[in-house]
Each structure stands twice: as C-alpha cells, then as structure tokens.
Symmetry: C2
Subunit: 243 residues, 2 copies
C-alpha cells in the first residue's frame, strides 16, 4: 500500500496505539495528511490531549478536533456512567459486543471523515480498525468497511462528477496487536505517548493539574490487549500504568 | 407503507416542509417516534425553533437536538460566509450540485440517526429526501439511501446478533413538491409552521427579539421549490415571505 506522494488523506486519530501507527504509516507512504479527532464526551480529556500531542509531534498541516455529543444518545460505558469492565479474560473480551461499544461510532466517525475528505479533496480515509485482538465491535469488521466505502462513493459531490473514488484504508485490519506494535516501532512511533485506556488516570502535577503522560489503568479491555501485544511482540512496554 | 403500531422509529426532523410531512406520515402509520434534529452551524437558529415547535405540537416522546460542528469542515453556503444564491431558474436549480450543498451531510445525519435508533431499539429511520423537485444533492438519491441501509445493517450490535434489520424509509423519494404538500394537507400538517428557507428572516418582536413565525426570503432555491409546489398543488401558500 503506497500512496502517490503528496496525495491528500484523512486519518482518524484517537491518540491510541492503532490510529497512531496508521498515522505513521500514511506519512511514511507520502500522504499529505489531515487528521481528525473527536471530542465525543468520552470519559477523559486525556485522550484528546494525546491526539493533539501526536498531531503536533508529526507536524501535520491540519488537525481538526470536532465536538460530537454522543452522550445525547447514551448506551455506552465510554460516554455514560456505566462502569468500564476490568480484568476480563481473553474469551470474555472476544465474546460478544461489550458495554464499551459506542452505538454506531465508526459509522459516525467515518461519515465525518468523509465530509473532511470532500472539503480537503482527499480520496483516502485511514482508520485503524482491526479484527484480530479486537474488542468485538461490529463496526470494525471488513464487511462493514467495504459497505461504508460503497456508500461513500454514492454520497459525495465528487461521486456525481466522477472525480476519483473514495477509498477507506484499513492497513491494520488483519494484524495482531503484536504485529501492529512491531510495525509502529519500525516506523519510529513512541508508544509511550499514545493512550489506549478506557479509564485513564491523569498524573498529578503542581496544583493538582495534569502533568506528564496519562497513566493507563492496566485492566480494562484496551489495556489488556495492549499489554498482551507488547508481551507477544517481545518489546519492552513503555506504557505508564497506574497498577 | 404501514408500520406495526407502536414500533419505534427515528425521524430526521429539520423543521422544513419535507421532514414535517414525513413526521406526520410516520405518526399516521402508528410509529412511536423519536425525532432527531441537528444544530450544525446552519445560518439560522430559526430552523431549530421550527423543529422544536413541530416536535412539541406533535407530542413526541423524545426529541433529541444534537450539536454537530459542520463549520469545522467548511465548504458550504449553509455553514460558511458564502452567499446563498437567489432567483435561480428551474434549470439552474436542477443543474449540478449547488453551493448550498453541505459536504456529506445526509451521511452524517443518517449515521447519527443510526446511533439513536440503536439506543432506542428502533428499526426504522425516516428521512424526507426526494429526487423530484430537489436541489441536485448526491446524498438524496435512492442508490445512496440503499447503500447506506446495507452499510447500516453491518454496523450495529443488532446486526451481529441478527436482531431485525434497519430500514431507511424515504416515503417522499418519488413525489413532487406538490404531491408532498397535498399529502401533508391530508394529514393535517400546518405548513405555516414549517421553515424551508436557506436564508430566513426573523420577525422582529419587542426589544428586537424574534417573535411570531420566521419569514422566508422567497428567492433561494428552497423557497422557489416551495412556492412552485404550492402553485402546482393549487393550494394557498401559507408561507410568511419577506418579499
């Protein structure tokens, strides 16, 4: 997967391990990247800080941070006062859609990415979904991504004018977490600056304000998958854990 | 098109002529409706007021008004400081995508409706798009709606659990504006309370605050299509026009 140097792309950037690796990959392949991050009422502003830091470190031309009030719909541990499950086993993590699922989240995220791509004149939209070592979300599956791409190519002004097709790029789709980490290390990603945790803890600085890197809880599904990935990759885990 | 009485549905409600007719139709067919309206940085809060008034008059159980900052992307006369075109001819209105097009707007709106439908346990999503007497938007076409529906049925938790399919209902798709108005009148819709205009004028009340019904500009594409509809339907136009 190599883009034509200078081709514009939109990268969905949460500030987590996967999307940060995807960003590094898109930049390596010469894309002129506009990153898109959502403030969607997730429990922690720490995620937004991680995404902003990463975009800045990568010297991106454009980083849009867009507010979407997903709390208005409810129904998820990531936006509501539902407890994030901790210490689940591999089979529990892989078995069924968990309470951390945010209804229609990737549909909404990709729809917004399509708007930005249309305004930017970008044909490529990168998203860091993967089906191995994932959390059982329906909107991470390849058949969903393919259907979204088909729809996207009927949705836009470019679609009516036969100006190049939109491609939803999912370079991590069939990679394990360990393979993703390996790839990212080879691309120079510093995973200490990424944040995967569903329930992170701010490191307290002076006057109680957040300082330094946010700490991962170490026991939510996202942390467990992340830990497992570093172990399997045989790479020292630079993640600051709270426990 | 008749729903099973009490079945839940989500209706996208802008407060315009089309979506208000769709709402009346869904209620006539016995659906238990949750309406969804977006505050997307459109030029006028008057649109939101019209939608709120209509939801209240209809006695809906739930009306979600959700903020989405489409201004963050730019590229449209409805969200930016681009002049709304006035006094265009029929062939100009039908010829090509106009500057009032908001990039990926219906994709974004339907994605959010899908989230609300998932949380509500609704299988039916109503949207008032139509291809006759329309403004040349790509995301109003039936092939777009069909592709969205296919995607939606791969996107949700229900999709993975084989709980009933999502249906995107577009009852106005093949109706002329005149037919839509005829239908709405038969359903008891008071079109004086709907707002179609891209550039409406607030009726000034005491202390300069908006009062009474917002007035339509009378010459933007939406107003011209609306006027033509009433004329063709042979129904007196109750619309308060500024000119």
């Amino acid at each position: 997967m190599v883009g034509n140097p200078g081709n514009k792309a939109v990268v969905l950037l949460s500030g987590g391990l996967d999307s940060t690796t995807v960003l590094a990959l898109a930049l390596r392949d010469g894309f002129d990247v506009a990153a898109l991050t959502f403030d969607y009422g997730q429990r922690h502003a720490l995620e937004l800080r991680a995404a902003r830091d990463l975009a800045e470190r990568s010297g991106l031309r454009r980083h849009a941070v867009v507010s979407i009030d997903l709390r208005a719909y409810g129904g998820s541990a990531l936006t509501d006062d539902i407890r994030v499950p901790k210490g689940r086993s591999d089979s529990e993590i892989g078995g069924g859609v968990p309470v951390t699922y945010v209804p229609a989240r990737n549909t909404i995220f990709l729809a917004h990415a399509l708007a930005l791509a249309e305004v930017e004149g970008a044909q490529d939209i990168f998203i860091g979904v993967n089906t191995l070592d994932y959390s059982g979300y329906p909107d991470c599956r390849p058949q969903f991504i393919e259907a979204f791409q088909t729809m996207a190519n009927l949705a836009t002004k470019a679609a009516t004018e036969n100006i190049g097709a939109i491609e939803i790029r999912t370079p991590l789709m069939k990679m394990t977490k360990a393979e993703i980490i390996d790839l990212g290390i080879s691309l120079g990603v510093d995973y200490a600056h990424t944040l995967s945790c569903y329930d992170p803890v701010a490191e307290e600085g002076e006057h109680g304000r957040a300082a330094g890197l946010p700490r991962h809880c170490g026991s939510c599904d996202a942390c467990l998958l992340r830990k497992k990935g570093f172990t399997e990759a045989g790479i020292p885990d630079p993640t600051p854990y709270a426990e």
